[in-house]
């Protein structure tokens, strides 16, 4: 067995109505005035009602009432983060609560950097560049896919440069993740499916990250995949199926802990580059690239894919290559059954010239996610995967 390190700094609580406890735990973590980061759709749809009621019924003085920032767009950017941080700083916030999907949680994480340290947030760009602990942060996901509620990374779009900026540090991981399946029942079918495929991509890329896997990350990936294959279609087709909602939510967080420790790979690198350039939804983009990325990696990780296929009951084949191909086929089938697009052009990505394609491949090849891919791709090979996905 190869050497490994495994850490999971975020405490996780799960349960229907668990979100009601957000006020209490934020105060237990030492926060006196909390910045609540969310988006307007969630706020208007009443998804935060139980959370806000808990704050209203709390013991805070008038001057310590929470500040709500609800302007997070689907693919958050630097301006949004700076606005949230500025609002929080003016109000003297000392804790952060994120209620939303990956974009909301990532915005809250990076706003917390600005809030805690001041200065220009670009000074903290990259991996492991945060000097000290941030203010306490609690994350309540309202999608089941990004794993951001337990991960130490955040991706923020730089619209001017058309790229995603990566912030990564153990201090970025929220102190607590509250998993409340009631908060994801309003997620529409397409987003339920897309975010579920994002989680499945985390699982499959982490499980195949040969240089960084461990028995701990393997266990999380395999169980998470089992839950997704069993429940994602149900959660997509029946919004109020609480058993399926709960299973996909837990699976997503398990995948988040897994990729926090093992990393992701080429599929995420391509999804980041494509999303930054064309604004495509991260989960849907991952879903499109997933089978193509797996096919590219097959020669390096047939054994890993094969063992996953057998564990999941997808294949009885003892031949790893055959079992691995059945796993890829099962992924394609799940994507189709969940009604997701299977080609980039179906996501609205325009046909691009060879030189633009090379630029996109360059962006993918320098994305930090690619470090953990089991097979090192050349630019030509990245372009090949992109073209096959198009």
């Amino acid at each position: 067995m190869q050497p490994f390190a495994f850490h999971s700094p975020t405490k996780i609580t799960f349960g229907e109505d668990a979100a009601c406890g957000a006020y209490e735990v934020t105060r237990e973590l030492g926060g006196k005035r909390t910045l609540i980061v969310t988006d307007a759709n969630l706020l208007n749809a009443g998804v935060l009602a139980s959370v806000l009621a808990a704050f209203e019924n709390g013991n805070d003085s008038a001057s310590n009432q929470p500040i709500i920032f609800d302007e997070v767009p689907p693919d958050s950017d630097l301006d949004c983060v700076r606005s949230a941080a500025s609002l929080a700083r003016r109000a003297g916030c000392d804790s952060v609560l994120a209620v939303g999907g990956g974009s909301v949680i990532d915005t809250a994480k990076v706003a917390n950097i600005c809030l805690a340290y001041g200065g220009d947030l670009l000074d903290y760009l990259g991996l492991n560049n945060l000097p000290t602990k941030l203010f306490p942060m609690v994350a309540i996901p309202t999608t089941a896919g990004t794993g951001s509620e337990v991960s130490p990374v955040a991706l923020i779009r730089d619209r001017d440069e058309q790229r995603k900026l990566l912030f990564g540090s153990p201090f970025l991981a929220p102190d607590l993740a509250i998993l409340d399946p009631k908060l994801i029942v309003s997620l529409p079918p397409s987003l339920t499916a897309a975010t579920g495929l994002d989680a499945l991509t985390h699982d499959l890329e982490s499980y195949a990250a040969l240089i960084s896997v461990s028995p701990f990350s393997d266990a999380l990936c395999l169980e998470s995949m089992r839950l997704i294959f069993q429940f994602l279609e149900r959660a997509t087709k029946c919004a109020d199926d609480m058993e399926a909602r709960a299973a996909t939510l837990v699976a997503s967080t398990m995948a988040g802990v897994a990729f926090t420790n093992a990393g992701v790979g080429l599929i995420h690198a391509l999804a980041h580059a494509t999303g930054a350039k064309y604004g495509t939804h991260h989960g849907m983009t991952n879903a499109v690239f997933l089978p193509h990325g797996m096919e590219f990696n097959l020669e390096s990780v047939a054994g890993r894919y094969g063992s996953a296929a057998r564990f999941l009951g997808i294949s009885n084949e003892l031949d790893d290559d055959k079992a691995a191909r059945e796993l890829i086929k099962a992924v394609r089938s799940l994507v189709a059954r969940c009604g997701l697009p299977t080609r980039l052009k179906d996501l609205g990505v325009p046909a691009i010239s060879e030189s633009e394609l090379e630029g996109l491949a360059c962006a993918a090849s320098t994305d930090a996610a690619i470090i953990f891919n089991p097979r090192e791709p050349s630019l030509t090979e990245i372009i090949g995967v992109y073209k096959r996905a198009y």
């Binding site: 050497p3 760009l125 991996l127 560049n129 240089i211 960084s212 093992a262 990393g263 320098t366 470090i371």
Partner: protein, 138 residues
Amino acid sequence: MAVFSSAEEMWQVMSTLWERIKADPEMSGSLLKSKLIVQFRYRDPEWVLTIDSNDGEDMKIINGSGKNKAVVVMSMKADVAHEFWLGRVNVPLAILTGKIASQGPTPKALALLPVIRQAFPIYAQILEETGKKALVPK
């Protein structure tokens, strides 16, 4: 106890190492082709080393930050650098676990690892030549 007691001592070892890398056509060729400016920021002892291959012709080994802005910055304890040159550090894993901090397009620098690995025996050799044989594992 830290492997290197001072920045001067580290510069002595590392500059010799990088001069030999520079003298090797295959290794220096790959670095020059990348046109990267990679900066290593060390702690314990505090020291900055910059390898500037920006012009694609002359690989500059700079004691300090240099004039050009680094493309990739990697920060770590000097002891981690020592372990790296002994071939004992899985760099992606070290990044994942926080031992190495990075800024900029890190994969561009990591793409040079297969070439740089050829310098591992040179590093051990330099330690022996400079009276630090005890630091080389048997």
